[in-house]
C-alpha cells in the first residue's frame, strides 16, 4: 500500500484544479515527480509543491493500492478525484466543485461538505461525502442528457436541487434532506432518501426507483398512486414499514416508481 499525504500550505481565493492528482497517475511516481505534478489555478499552471507539502509512505505495484490523503482547507480545491478510475482518495475537509465527477472506479471519501457537481456523470466507483452537498449531485453536465450511469454515491448530510438529473443507472443514498427536483428526467438507477424532500420529486421520470423515507408536501400531477405495500422488497432490499407506491411520470409515459414511507 502506498500512501501519498498532501498537506495544504497555501490557500488562494482563486480555486485550484486537481485533475492531475489521481492514484492512477501518481502510484508509480517519485516524491519529486509528485511535487512537480501540474495543477491549475485560473490561467496559470503551477507545480503541486506551490500549494502542498508532499510525503510518501510505503510502496505499491498498481494504482488500486494507492491512497491519496489530502489535509488542509480544500474549500477552493476543485476536481478532486475527477475521472478517477482506481485507488482511494480521502479529503479531510470541505471540497470544491466536481469531486468524483466522471469517475469510473475507486473510492473517494470526503470528510466535510462538497460544492456542486459532486459525482456528476460518474460511471463506477464509490463517492462518500460525510457532510452536505450542493446542487447537481450525480447529474448530467449542462447540455448533456445522460447523467450518472454507474457506481454509488453516499451522502450523509443534505443535498441541493436537481439530484441525479438524467440518471441512467447506479445507486444514490442520501441520509439527510433533499431540495427540489430530485431524480428529474431519471431513466434508471436507484435513489434512497432518508430525510425529507422539498417538492417535485421525479419530474419527467421515465424509469428507475426512488425510495423516500421522509416526508414530501405533494406529488407532481404526473404520478399515480398504485398501492400500499408493507415491508416492500425494492431493488433487492427490504424496507421496513408501510410504503405508498406511485408510478409516473405520465407526462413522458414514464414507468418510474416512487415509494414513500407513511
Amino acid at each position: 500500500m502506498k500512501a501519498i499525504n498532501l498537506v495544504m500550505t497555501r490557500k488562494n481565493s482563486i480555486a485550484i484544479e486537481f485533475d492531475n492528482i489521481l492514484p492512477e497517475l501518481l502510484f508509480d511516481k517519485s516524491l519529486t515527480q509528485i511535487q512537480d505534478s501540474i495543477i491549475y489555478m485560473g490561467n496559470k499552471q503551477l507545480p503541486l509543491s506551490e500549494f502542498f507539502e508532499v510525503e510518501i509512505e510505503g510502496d505499491c505495484q498498481n494504482s488500486e493500492d494507492c491512497l491519496i490523503n489530502i489535509e488542509g482547507d480544500l474549500s477552493r480545491v476543485k476536481r478532486i478525484g475527477f475521472a478517477m478510475n482506481s485507488g482511494k482518495i480521502i479529503a479531510n475537509s470541505n471540497v470544491d466543485f466536481h469531486v468524483g465527477a466522471l469517475m469510473t472506479g475507486g473510492h473517494i471519501t470526503v470528510n466535510g461538505d462538497a460544492e456542486s457537481y459532486a459525482g456528476r456523470e460518474m460511471t463506477g466507483g464509490t463517492l462518500e461525502i460525510k457532510g452536505n452537498v450542493k446542487e447537481f449531485c450525480g447529474s448530467s453536465y449542462a447540455g448533456e442528457w445522460r447523467g450518472m450511469s454507474g457506481g454509488q454515491i453516499i451522502i450523509h448530510g443534505n443535498v441541493g436541487k436537481q439530484l441525479a438529473d438524467f440518471m441512467l443507472d447506479g445507486k444514490i443514498h442520501i441520509r439527510g434532506n433533499c431540495d427540489i427536483l430530485a431524480g428529474v428526467h431519471m431513466s434508471g438507477g436507484f435513489i434512497q432518501i432518508d430525510g425529507n424532500v422539498t417538492q417535485w420529486i421525479g419530474g419527467q421520470m421515465k424509469k428507475g426507483i426512488i425510495v423516500l423515507n421522509g416526508k414530501i408536501d405533494s406529488m407532481l400531477p404526473g404520478f399515480v398512486f398504485q398501492e400500499i405495500v408493507h415491508n416492500p422488497l425494492i431493488n433487492g432490499q427490504y424496507f421496513i414499514g408501510k410504503y405508498r407506491l406511485y408510478s409516473g411520470d405520465r407526462g413522458v409515459n414514464g414507468k418510474g416508481q416512487i415509494w414513500i414511507k407513511e
Binding site: S13, Y40, G42, N43, S116, Y117, Q204, G251
Partner: protein, 445 residues
C-alpha cells in the same frame, strides 16, 4: 401635455434599427439637423428616449483613475496599454457584457478571451441563460416573429410583460398587426397572459390566468397531463382551478398556429431551467394537435447575438472559461455572478454593460478590490467603480454592425451620424487591445 411633432429637421434617415431591446425594430426613422439627431419616428417610448437623450451623460474621452481616486482624462495609447498589461498579468480575468454591441465586436472579444485565458460571459447569466440550458438539453421548437405576425391566431405570454419591457412587441409582431393569414389583426387573434401579476400585458389580453409565484414547474406539468387527456385529482394546481386549465388547453389545442413567449418570470423562478424544460415539452406535445412554437423574450438588442456567436465559436452559449486554453462552461462555476461571489476574478472588464446596475450588492463589492475596466458609451454606476474608462460608440447610431433579434434573425444596423471625436467603436477598441496583448505575449516569449 401633448408635444408637437418635430418639424425642425433637415434630413430623414429611414429603415434604421433600434438598439434598445430584443425586438430590434428595423423600421426606425431618424430626424437629423446639422448631423445631430433631433427626433425619431416609429420607436417606442423607451427606444425614442434612449435615442434622443443619447448625448446625455456621454463618455467622451478615455480616463484612468488617479491615486486620489479621481477619473482623469488620458490618451488612448496610455489607457489601452494599461488595460492590456493588467489583463495580460491577471490570473482569473472576466470579460463581461456584450449584449449591447455588435457581433463583429463580440468576435474580437472571444479572441481576446482565448489568448488571455479569460472567462467571457454576458447578460444571459442573469436572465435567459437558464432557458438556453434547457434548449441545449431538450431542443427548442423555434419560430420567427414574421411567422407570428402572419400566421399566429393564439398568442400566449408567460411570465413576461412586453407592454412595459418590449413595448412594440404586440403592435409590430404579435397582437395588433394585420398578417397574411390574419387580415383582421387583433380581431383574428386570442391573447392569453399567464402571470402571477396583473401586468399591462394582462390588461390588453383576452384572458389572464394568475398562478402562484415559483410554481411554474407544477403548472406546466399539470397542463401536460391535461393535454394527454388525463384527469387531475386536484381541484386547483399552482393556484389555478382545473377548470381554467382545461379551458386553456382547449384553446391551445384548437389553435391554427400558436406562439408562446416567455420571460424571466419563467426562467428565473424556483425551478429555473427545468421550468423552461417542461414548457418546451408542453409545446412539443401541442404539436401533435396543432402548430406551436416558442421564444424567450430576450432583453438587450444583441444578447441573443452573443449566445449565437459564442456557441458558434466554442459550443457553449455563455459563461465560457478559457483558463485551460480550451472552452469550458459550468453553470455556477464559470458564470460571472458566481465567480464574483466566490471572490475569484482579479480583473474585470465590462463591455457595453453596466454591472453597477445589474449585479447584486454583494457581487459588486468585489469589483471595488480588483482592476475594473469599462468599455461603454455612457456614464453609469459602473463608471464610479472603474479604474479605466474606454469610451465607445453606439451600434446602429454611430457605428454599423450586426445584431441578432430575439428570434435569432441577424439584422444589419446602419450608421446614422458620426461618432464623437475622441470615441471609438467597441470593435476598434478590442482590436487595439488584442494587438497590444499579442505584443506582450511575444515579449514574454
Amino acid at each position: 401635455m401633448i408635444e408637437k411633432p418635430i418639424k425642425d429637421y433637415d434630413k430623414e434617415v429611414k429603415n434604421c434599427s433600434c438598439s434598445y431591446c430584443g425586438n430590434n425594430c428595423d423600421d426606425i426613422t431618424y430626424l437629423l439637423k446639422n448631423d445631430e439627431i433631433v427626433g425619431v419616428r416609429h420607436a417606442c417610448r423607451i427606444g425614442a428616449s434612449k435615442i434622443i437623450n443619447d448625448q446625455d451623460q456621454r463618455l467622451l474621452s478615455p480616463m484612468i483613475r488617479n491615486d486620489e481616486g479621481i477619473l482623469e482624462e488620458t490618451t488612448w495609447d496610455v489607457a489601452l496599454d494599461k488595460t492590456a498589461r493588467l489583463l495580460h498579468n491577471s490570473t482569473r480575468p472576466v470579460l463581461y457584457g456584450w449584449g449591447e454591441t455588435s457581433v463583429e465586436a463580440i468576435k474580437k472579444g472571444i479572441k481576446i478571451a482565448e489568448i488571455t485565458g479569460s472567462v467571457i460571459d454576458n447578460q444571459s447569466t442573469i436572465c435567459h441563460g437558464t432557458s438556453i440550458q434547457a434548449f441545449q438539453n431538450v431542443g427548442h421548437p423555434v419560430m420567427t416573429l414574421g411567422e407570428v405576425k402572419n400566421r399566429a391566431d393564439v398568442i400566449v405570454y408567460v411570465g413576461t410583460n412586453p407592454m412595459d419591457d418590449h413595448p412594440r412587441h404586440l403592435s409590430r409582431y404579435t397582437t395588433f398587426p394585420e398578417g397574411f393569414f390574419r387580415r383582421n389583426g387583433r380581431q383574428d387573434r386570442t391573447i392569453i397572459t399567464l402571470d402571477p401579476k396583473y401586468t399591462n400585458t394582462a390588461k390588453v389580453s383576452d384572458k389572464w390566468i394568475q398562478f402562484n409565484m415559483d410554481e411554474d414547474y407544477l403548472l406546466f406539468n399539470a397542463l401536460r397531463m391535461l393535454l394527454k387527456g388525463e384527469e387531475l385529482e386536484e381541484k386547483e394546481v399552482a393556484g389555478v382551478s382545473t377548470q381554467q386549465l382545461e379551458e386553456l388547453i382547449k384553446i391551445m389545442k384548437n389553435a391554427e398556429y400558436g406562439a408562446l413567449f416567455f420571460g424571466l418570470g419563467v426562467s428565473q423562478t424556483l425551478a429555473k431551467q427545468k421550468n423552461v424544460d417542461v414548457l418546451i415539452q408542453l409545446i412539443e406535445d401541442l404539436n401533435r394537435y396543432s402548430k406551436w412554437s416558442m421564444l424567450p423574450m430576450r432583453g438587450f438588442f444583441n444578447v441573443s447575438g452573443f449566445n449565437i456567436a459564442l456557441t458558434s465559436e466554442t459550443g457553449y452559449p455563455y459563461g465560457v472559461d478559457f483558463s485551460r486554453g480550451y472552452p469550458r462552461f459550468m453553470v455556477g462555476e464559470t458564470t460571472t455572478i458566481d465567480l464574483l461571489n466566490r471572490r475569484e476574478p482579479d480583473f474585470f472588464m465590462a463591455v457595453s454593460a453596466d454591472p453597477g446596475v445589474q449585479f447584486p450588492g454583494y457581487t459588486i463589492k468585489h469589483l471595488v478590490n480588483i482592476p475594473t475596466i469599462q468599455v461603454d458609451t455612457h456614464w453609469g454606476p459602473y463608471t464610479e467603480l472603474s479604474d479605466i474608462v474606454l469610451p465607445s460608440t453606439r451600434v446602429g447610431v454611430e457605428t454599423e454592425g450586426t445584431a441578432y433579434r430575439m428570434d435569432s434573425i441577424p439584422l444589419f444596423m446602419k450608421k446614422v451620424i458620426d461618432k464623437p471625436k475622441n470615441c471609438h467603436s467597441d470593435e476598434w477598441i478590442l482590436t487595439e487591445l488584442y494587438k497590444r496583448i499579442e505584443q506582450l505575449k511575444q515579449e514574454d516569449e
